[in-house]
Subunit: 206 residues, 2 copies
Protein backbone atom coordinates (compact mmCIF):
# COMPACT_ATOMS: atom_id res chain seq x y z
CA UNK A 1 0.00 0.00 0.00
CA UNK A 2 1.45 3.44 -0.84
CA UNK A 3 2.22 6.04 1.79
CA UNK A 4 -0.70 8.49 1.75
CA UNK A 5 -0.40 11.98 3.23
CA UNK A 6 -3.45 14.27 3.11
CA UNK A 7 -2.47 17.87 3.84
CA UNK A 8 -5.42 20.13 4.54
CA UNK A 9 -6.63 22.73 6.99
CA UNK A 10 -8.01 21.68 10.37
CA UNK A 11 -11.54 21.59 8.99
CA UNK A 12 -13.86 19.22 7.14
CA UNK A 13 -14.86 21.59 4.26
CA UNK A 14 -12.86 20.47 1.19
CA UNK A 15 -10.95 17.63 2.80
CA UNK A 16 -13.45 15.41 4.58
CA UNK A 17 -14.55 13.35 1.58
CA UNK A 18 -10.96 12.10 1.22
CA UNK A 19 -10.85 11.19 4.91
CA UNK A 20 -14.17 9.33 4.60
CA UNK A 21 -12.88 7.42 1.55
CA UNK A 22 -9.78 6.29 3.48
CA UNK A 23 -12.02 5.37 6.40
CA UNK A 24 -14.45 3.36 4.26
CA UNK A 25 -11.61 1.53 2.55
CA UNK A 26 -9.80 0.99 5.87
CA UNK A 27 -6.63 2.40 4.38
CA UNK A 28 -4.10 4.16 6.61
CA UNK A 29 -3.23 7.78 5.86
CA UNK A 30 -1.51 10.71 7.55
CA UNK A 31 -4.20 13.26 8.37
CA UNK A 32 -2.07 16.41 8.42
CA UNK A 33 -4.06 19.42 9.63
CA UNK A 34 -2.83 22.98 9.24
CA UNK A 35 -4.43 25.72 11.31
CA UNK A 36 -5.97 28.57 9.32
CA UNK A 37 -4.93 31.33 9.59
CA UNK A 38 -1.46 30.55 10.97
CA UNK A 39 2.25 31.25 10.54
CA UNK A 40 2.59 27.61 9.51
CA UNK A 41 0.23 28.12 6.56
CA UNK A 42 1.98 31.33 5.48
CA UNK A 43 5.24 29.35 5.29
CA UNK A 44 3.67 26.30 3.63
CA UNK A 45 1.55 28.12 1.01
CA UNK A 46 4.33 29.01 -1.49
CA UNK A 47 5.61 25.43 -1.40
CA UNK A 48 2.28 23.99 -2.61
CA UNK A 49 1.71 23.61 -6.38
CA UNK A 50 -1.24 26.06 -6.51
CA UNK A 51 -0.87 27.93 -3.21
CA UNK A 52 -3.89 25.94 -2.05
CA UNK A 53 -4.90 22.96 0.06
CA UNK A 54 -5.79 20.11 0.00
CA UNK A 55 -2.76 18.39 -1.45
CA UNK A 56 -2.53 14.61 -1.50
CA UNK A 57 0.92 13.07 -1.40
CA UNK A 58 1.20 9.49 -2.62
CA UNK A 59 4.69 8.16 -1.98
CA UNK A 60 5.88 11.76 -2.17
CA UNK A 61 4.17 12.66 -5.48
CA UNK A 62 1.60 15.42 -5.20
CA UNK A 63 -1.94 15.81 -6.51
CA UNK A 64 -3.92 19.08 -6.41
CA UNK A 65 -7.63 20.04 -6.34
CA UNK A 66 -10.05 18.49 -3.89
CA UNK A 67 -12.33 16.76 -6.37
CA UNK A 68 -9.42 15.38 -8.41
CA UNK A 69 -8.08 13.92 -5.15
CA UNK A 70 -11.46 12.45 -4.17
CA UNK A 71 -11.89 10.82 -7.56
CA UNK A 72 -8.34 9.46 -7.54
CA UNK A 73 -8.96 7.81 -4.19
CA UNK A 74 -12.39 6.64 -5.31
CA UNK A 75 -10.84 5.03 -8.38
CA UNK A 76 -8.22 3.35 -6.20
CA UNK A 77 -10.79 2.05 -3.71
CA UNK A 78 -14.26 2.07 -5.27
CA UNK A 79 -15.88 4.08 -8.06
CA UNK A 80 -18.60 3.39 -10.59
CA UNK A 81 -18.84 -0.02 -12.24
CA UNK A 82 -18.82 1.46 -15.76
CA UNK A 83 -17.86 4.62 -17.57
CA UNK A 84 -21.55 5.59 -17.45
CA UNK A 85 -21.76 5.19 -13.66
CA UNK A 86 -18.52 7.18 -13.25
CA UNK A 87 -20.05 9.98 -15.33
CA UNK A 88 -23.21 9.96 -13.20
CA UNK A 89 -20.97 10.25 -10.13
CA UNK A 90 -19.03 13.11 -11.73
CA UNK A 91 -22.31 14.91 -12.55
CA UNK A 92 -23.41 14.70 -8.92
CA UNK A 93 -20.04 15.87 -7.59
CA UNK A 94 -20.04 18.82 -10.00
CA UNK A 95 -23.58 19.73 -8.89
CA UNK A 96 -22.38 19.60 -5.25
CA UNK A 97 -19.64 22.05 -6.21
CA UNK A 98 -22.36 24.70 -6.53
CA UNK A 99 -22.78 24.56 -2.73
CA UNK A 100 -19.23 25.90 -2.40
CA UNK A 101 -19.07 28.68 -4.96
CA UNK A 102 -21.05 31.34 -3.02
CA UNK A 103 -19.41 30.59 0.34
CA UNK A 104 -16.22 32.65 0.05
CA UNK A 105 -18.11 35.84 -0.96
CA UNK A 106 -20.46 35.32 2.02
CA UNK A 107 -17.59 34.80 4.46
CA UNK A 108 -15.67 37.81 3.12
CA UNK A 109 -18.58 40.27 3.19
CA UNK A 110 -20.03 42.20 6.11
CA UNK A 111 -23.21 43.94 7.29
CA UNK A 112 -26.07 44.39 4.84
CA UNK A 113 -24.02 43.00 1.94
CA UNK A 114 -23.44 39.76 3.89
CA UNK A 115 -27.12 39.56 4.83
CA UNK A 116 -28.13 39.94 1.20
CA UNK A 117 -25.73 37.24 -0.03
CA UNK A 118 -26.80 34.91 2.78
CA UNK A 119 -30.47 35.39 1.93
CA UNK A 120 -29.82 34.56 -1.73
CA UNK A 121 -27.90 31.46 -0.63
CA UNK A 122 -30.74 30.32 1.65
CA UNK A 123 -33.70 31.15 -0.57
CA UNK A 124 -32.40 30.62 -4.11
CA UNK A 125 -29.10 28.75 -4.29
CA UNK A 126 -29.85 25.93 -1.85
CA UNK A 127 -33.36 25.01 -3.10
CA UNK A 128 -32.07 25.00 -6.67
CA UNK A 129 -29.16 22.65 -5.92
CA UNK A 130 -31.20 20.42 -3.58
CA UNK A 131 -34.00 20.09 -6.16
CA UNK A 132 -31.42 19.16 -8.77
CA UNK A 133 -29.73 16.57 -6.54
CA UNK A 134 -33.07 15.09 -5.43
CA UNK A 135 -34.02 14.63 -9.08
CA UNK A 136 -30.76 12.77 -9.73
CA UNK A 137 -31.57 10.00 -7.22
CA UNK A 138 -33.29 7.17 -9.13
CA UNK A 139 -36.72 6.23 -7.77
CA UNK A 140 -36.63 3.39 -5.29
CA UNK A 141 -32.85 3.55 -4.85
CA UNK A 142 -30.87 4.11 -1.66
CA UNK A 143 -27.85 5.68 -3.32
CA UNK A 144 -27.16 8.11 -6.13
CA UNK A 145 -25.52 5.54 -8.40
CA UNK A 146 -25.79 1.76 -8.36
CA UNK A 147 -26.55 -0.23 -5.24
CA UNK A 148 -23.79 0.88 -2.93
CA UNK A 149 -22.12 3.87 -1.32
CA UNK A 150 -19.96 5.86 -3.75
CA UNK A 151 -17.99 9.07 -3.60
CA UNK A 152 -21.15 10.80 -4.93
CA UNK A 153 -23.04 9.99 -1.71
CA UNK A 154 -20.08 11.03 0.44
CA UNK A 155 -19.72 14.32 -1.43
CA UNK A 156 -23.41 15.16 -1.06
CA UNK A 157 -23.29 14.16 2.62
CA UNK A 158 -20.33 16.45 3.37
CA UNK A 159 -21.43 19.36 1.19
CA UNK A 160 -25.04 19.44 2.44
CA UNK A 161 -23.70 19.57 5.99
CA UNK A 162 -21.36 22.43 5.06
CA UNK A 163 -24.21 24.29 3.35
CA UNK A 164 -26.44 23.92 6.41
CA UNK A 165 -23.74 25.42 8.63
CA UNK A 166 -23.07 28.35 6.30
CA UNK A 167 -26.80 28.98 5.73
CA UNK A 168 -27.52 28.64 9.47
CA UNK A 169 -30.34 26.19 8.72
CA UNK A 170 -30.39 22.89 10.65
CA UNK A 171 -29.90 19.90 8.32
CA UNK A 172 -33.26 18.30 9.16
CA UNK A 173 -35.04 21.52 8.28
CA UNK A 174 -32.96 21.98 5.14
CA UNK A 175 -33.73 18.45 3.93
CA UNK A 176 -37.33 18.06 5.06
CA UNK A 177 -38.67 18.53 1.52
CA UNK A 178 -36.10 16.12 0.08
CA UNK A 179 -36.90 12.54 1.16
CA UNK A 180 -34.39 10.90 -1.18
CA UNK A 181 -31.51 13.09 0.00
CA UNK A 182 -32.54 12.50 3.62
CA UNK A 183 -32.46 8.75 3.00
CA UNK A 184 -28.98 8.94 1.46
CA UNK A 185 -27.81 10.94 4.45
CA UNK A 186 -29.10 8.23 6.81
CA UNK A 187 -27.42 5.50 4.78
CA UNK A 188 -24.07 7.29 4.93
CA UNK A 189 -24.36 7.94 8.67
CA UNK A 190 -25.39 4.41 9.49
CA UNK A 191 -22.29 2.90 7.90
CA UNK A 192 -20.27 1.56 10.85
CA UNK A 193 -16.91 2.87 9.70
CA UNK A 194 -18.25 6.31 8.85
CA UNK A 195 -20.16 6.46 12.15
CA UNK A 196 -17.03 5.62 14.10
CA UNK A 197 -14.96 8.19 12.19
CA UNK A 198 -17.54 10.93 12.70
CA UNK A 199 -17.61 10.19 16.42
CA UNK A 200 -13.84 10.39 16.92
CA UNK A 201 -12.67 12.97 14.38
CA UNK A 202 -11.43 16.39 15.58
CA UNK A 203 -14.30 18.78 16.19
CA UNK A 204 -14.14 21.77 13.85
CA UNK A 205 -16.60 24.47 12.78
CA UNK A 206 -16.77 23.36 9.14
CA UNK B 1 -21.20 3.37 -32.09
CA UNK B 2 -23.91 4.89 -29.88
CA UNK B 3 -26.10 7.75 -31.01
CA UNK B 4 -24.62 10.90 -29.46
CA UNK B 5 -26.66 14.08 -29.10
CA UNK B 6 -25.00 17.13 -27.51
CA UNK B 7 -27.58 19.73 -26.52
CA UNK B 8 -26.09 23.09 -25.66
CA UNK B 9 -26.50 26.78 -26.37
CA UNK B 10 -25.24 28.25 -29.63
CA UNK B 11 -21.91 29.12 -28.06
CA UNK B 12 -18.55 27.51 -27.31
CA UNK B 13 -18.37 28.34 -23.54
CA UNK B 14 -19.23 25.11 -21.66
CA UNK B 15 -19.85 22.89 -24.67
CA UNK B 16 -16.88 23.23 -26.97
CA UNK B 17 -14.59 20.73 -25.23
CA UNK B 18 -17.15 17.99 -25.97
CA UNK B 19 -17.29 19.04 -29.62
CA UNK B 20 -13.48 19.01 -29.82
CA UNK B 21 -13.38 15.53 -28.28
CA UNK B 22 -15.84 14.20 -30.87
CA UNK B 23 -13.80 15.93 -33.56
CA UNK B 24 -10.48 14.50 -32.38
CA UNK B 25 -11.95 11.00 -32.13
CA UNK B 26 -13.70 11.38 -35.51
CA UNK B 27 -16.97 10.28 -33.93
CA UNK B 28 -20.27 11.52 -35.34
CA UNK B 29 -22.59 13.49 -33.04
CA UNK B 30 -25.64 15.71 -33.31
CA UNK B 31 -24.53 19.24 -32.44
CA UNK B 32 -27.85 20.67 -31.24
CA UNK B 33 -27.61 24.41 -30.60
CA UNK B 34 -30.26 26.33 -28.67
CA UNK B 35 -30.33 30.12 -28.94
CA UNK B 36 -30.02 31.98 -25.65
CA UNK B 37 -32.22 33.71 -24.67
CA UNK B 38 -35.10 32.23 -26.68
CA UNK B 39 -38.63 30.87 -26.44
CA UNK B 40 -37.18 27.49 -27.35
CA UNK B 41 -34.95 27.51 -24.25
CA UNK B 42 -37.81 28.60 -21.97
CA UNK B 43 -39.76 25.55 -23.17
CA UNK B 44 -36.80 23.17 -23.01
CA UNK B 45 -35.41 24.23 -19.60
CA UNK B 46 -37.97 22.43 -17.35
CA UNK B 47 -37.49 19.22 -19.32
CA UNK B 48 -33.73 19.05 -18.56
CA UNK B 49 -32.58 17.22 -15.39
CA UNK B 50 -31.06 20.31 -13.72
CA UNK B 51 -32.67 23.13 -15.74
CA UNK B 52 -29.24 23.57 -17.32
CA UNK B 53 -27.26 22.82 -20.46
CA UNK B 54 -25.17 21.06 -21.69
CA UNK B 55 -26.89 17.70 -21.64
CA UNK B 56 -25.37 14.75 -23.45
CA UNK B 57 -27.73 12.07 -24.70
CA UNK B 58 -26.20 8.68 -25.41
CA UNK B 59 -28.74 6.39 -27.03
CA UNK B 60 -31.43 8.45 -25.28
CA UNK B 61 -29.91 8.31 -21.78
CA UNK B 62 -28.93 11.68 -20.37
CA UNK B 63 -25.81 12.95 -18.61
CA UNK B 64 -25.56 16.33 -16.86
CA UNK B 65 -22.74 18.78 -15.98
CA UNK B 66 -20.21 19.91 -18.57
CA UNK B 67 -17.10 18.45 -16.96
CA UNK B 68 -18.79 15.11 -16.23
CA UNK B 69 -19.71 14.98 -19.93
CA UNK B 70 -16.19 15.89 -21.06
CA UNK B 71 -14.64 13.22 -18.85
CA UNK B 72 -17.15 10.62 -19.97
CA UNK B 73 -16.29 11.27 -23.60
CA UNK B 74 -12.59 11.41 -22.76
CA UNK B 75 -12.84 8.00 -21.08
CA UNK B 76 -14.66 6.61 -24.11
CA UNK B 77 -12.12 8.01 -26.57
CA UNK B 78 -8.87 8.83 -24.77
CA UNK B 79 -7.99 9.73 -21.19
CA UNK B 80 -4.96 9.26 -18.98
CA UNK B 81 -2.99 6.01 -19.17
CA UNK B 82 -3.25 5.40 -15.42
CA UNK B 83 -5.30 6.47 -12.42
CA UNK B 84 -2.50 8.91 -11.60
CA UNK B 85 -2.61 10.54 -15.06
CA UNK B 86 -6.41 10.77 -14.85
CA UNK B 87 -6.08 12.56 -11.51
CA UNK B 88 -3.55 14.99 -12.96
CA UNK B 89 -6.03 15.67 -15.78
CA UNK B 90 -8.85 16.18 -13.24
CA UNK B 91 -6.67 18.61 -11.26
CA UNK B 92 -6.05 20.70 -14.36
CA UNK B 93 -9.73 20.69 -15.38
CA UNK B 94 -10.77 21.75 -11.86
CA UNK B 95 -8.20 24.56 -11.95
CA UNK B 96 -9.65 25.69 -15.32
CA UNK B 97 -13.06 25.81 -13.64
CA UNK B 98 -11.82 28.87 -11.74
CA UNK B 99 -11.87 30.78 -15.05
CA UNK B 100 -15.66 30.34 -15.14
CA UNK B 101 -16.74 31.12 -11.58
CA UNK B 102 -16.43 34.94 -11.73
CA UNK B 103 -17.97 35.27 -15.20
CA UNK B 104 -21.69 35.21 -14.34
CA UNK B 105 -21.33 37.97 -11.69
CA UNK B 106 -19.39 40.08 -14.22
CA UNK B 107 -22.00 39.58 -16.95
CA UNK B 108 -24.88 40.31 -14.57
CA UNK B 109 -23.44 43.52 -13.05
CA UNK B 110 -23.40 47.02 -14.48
CA UNK B 111 -21.53 50.32 -14.26
CA UNK B 112 -18.90 50.77 -11.56
CA UNK B 113 -19.69 47.39 -9.99
CA UNK B 114 -18.99 45.67 -13.31
CA UNK B 115 -15.78 47.64 -13.78
CA UNK B 116 -14.59 46.62 -10.33
CA UNK B 117 -15.34 42.92 -10.87
CA UNK B 118 -13.70 43.02 -14.29
CA UNK B 119 -10.57 44.64 -12.87
CA UNK B 120 -10.30 41.95 -10.19
CA UNK B 121 -10.73 39.30 -12.88
CA UNK B 122 -8.01 40.83 -15.07
CA UNK B 123 -5.50 41.72 -12.37
CA UNK B 124 -5.94 39.02 -9.72
CA UNK B 125 -7.98 36.04 -10.88
CA UNK B 126 -6.36 35.45 -14.26
CA UNK B 127 -2.69 35.76 -13.19
CA UNK B 128 -3.37 33.43 -10.26
CA UNK B 129 -4.96 30.71 -12.42
CA UNK B 130 -2.45 31.10 -15.26
CA UNK B 131 0.50 30.87 -12.85
CA UNK B 132 -1.04 27.75 -11.36
CA UNK B 133 -1.63 26.12 -14.74
CA UNK B 134 1.84 27.05 -16.01
CA UNK B 135 3.36 25.39 -12.95
CA UNK B 136 1.41 22.20 -13.71
CA UNK B 137 3.06 21.71 -17.13
CA UNK B 138 6.09 19.45 -16.62
CA UNK B 139 9.39 20.96 -17.82
CA UNK B 140 10.29 19.99 -21.36
CA UNK B 141 6.83 18.60 -22.14
CA UNK B 142 4.42 19.67 -24.87
CA UNK B 143 1.24 18.66 -23.04
CA UNK B 144 -0.11 18.82 -19.51
CA UNK B 145 -0.11 15.06 -18.99
CA UNK B 146 1.83 12.38 -20.82
CA UNK B 147 3.04 12.71 -24.40
CA UNK B 148 -0.21 13.44 -26.22
CA UNK B 149 -3.25 15.68 -26.37
CA UNK B 150 -5.74 15.00 -23.56
CA UNK B 151 -8.96 16.60 -22.38
CA UNK B 152 -6.79 18.68 -20.00
CA UNK B 153 -5.15 20.49 -22.94
CA UNK B 154 -8.52 20.96 -24.67
CA UNK B 155 -10.09 22.37 -21.50
CA UNK B 156 -7.26 24.84 -20.97
CA UNK B 157 -7.38 25.81 -24.65
CA UNK B 158 -11.12 26.55 -24.56
CA UNK B 159 -11.20 28.18 -21.12
CA UNK B 160 -8.21 30.47 -21.72
CA UNK B 161 -9.91 31.68 -24.90
CA UNK B 162 -13.15 32.32 -23.01
CA UNK B 163 -11.25 34.17 -20.26
CA UNK B 164 -9.51 36.38 -22.82
CA UNK B 165 -12.87 37.36 -24.35
CA UNK B 166 -14.48 38.13 -20.99
CA UNK B 167 -11.40 40.01 -19.73
CA UNK B 168 -11.07 41.86 -23.05
CA UNK B 169 -7.38 40.97 -23.25
CA UNK B 170 -6.09 39.43 -26.50
CA UNK B 171 -4.86 35.86 -25.98
CA UNK B 172 -1.28 36.60 -27.09
CA UNK B 173 -1.06 39.38 -24.54
CA UNK B 174 -2.72 37.26 -21.85
CA UNK B 175 -0.27 34.40 -22.41
CA UNK B 176 2.94 36.29 -23.15
CA UNK B 177 4.35 35.55 -19.68
CA UNK B 178 3.38 31.87 -19.91
CA UNK B 179 5.56 30.08 -22.47
CA UNK B 180 4.37 26.58 -21.56
CA UNK B 181 0.70 27.48 -21.88
CA UNK B 182 1.42 29.26 -25.18
CA UNK B 183 3.12 26.11 -26.45
CA UNK B 184 0.15 23.92 -25.46
CA UNK B 185 -2.15 26.34 -27.24
CA UNK B 186 -0.08 26.03 -30.41
CA UNK B 187 -0.07 22.25 -30.20
CA UNK B 188 -3.87 22.14 -29.88
CA UNK B 189 -4.38 24.55 -32.76
CA UNK B 190 -1.96 22.78 -35.04
CA UNK B 191 -3.80 19.47 -34.78
CA UNK B 192 -5.34 18.97 -38.25
CA UNK B 193 -8.77 17.86 -37.04
CA UNK B 194 -9.04 20.66 -34.48
CA UNK B 195 -7.83 23.23 -37.02
CA UNK B 196 -10.45 22.11 -39.50
CA UNK B 197 -13.23 22.16 -36.86
CA UNK B 198 -12.24 25.65 -35.66
CA UNK B 199 -12.30 26.93 -39.25
CA UNK B 200 -15.77 25.60 -40.04
CA UNK B 201 -17.69 25.77 -36.73
CA UNK B 202 -20.48 28.35 -36.30
CA UNK B 203 -19.09 31.75 -35.32
CA UNK B 204 -20.30 32.79 -31.85
CA UNK B 205 -19.22 35.41 -29.30
CA UNK B 206 -18.11 32.89 -26.67
Amino acid sequence: MPNYKLIYFNMRARGEVARLLFTLAQVEFQDIRIEYPSEEWIKLKPTTPLGQLPVLEVDGQRLVQSKAIFKYLAREFVYGKSNWECAEIDGIMDTCEDFHTPITPILRSEGSEKAKLLQTYQEETLPQILNGLESLVPDGHNYFVGEKLTVADLSAYCDIELASIIAEIPINELLHKYPKLSAIRSHVESNDRIASWVKTRPKTYV
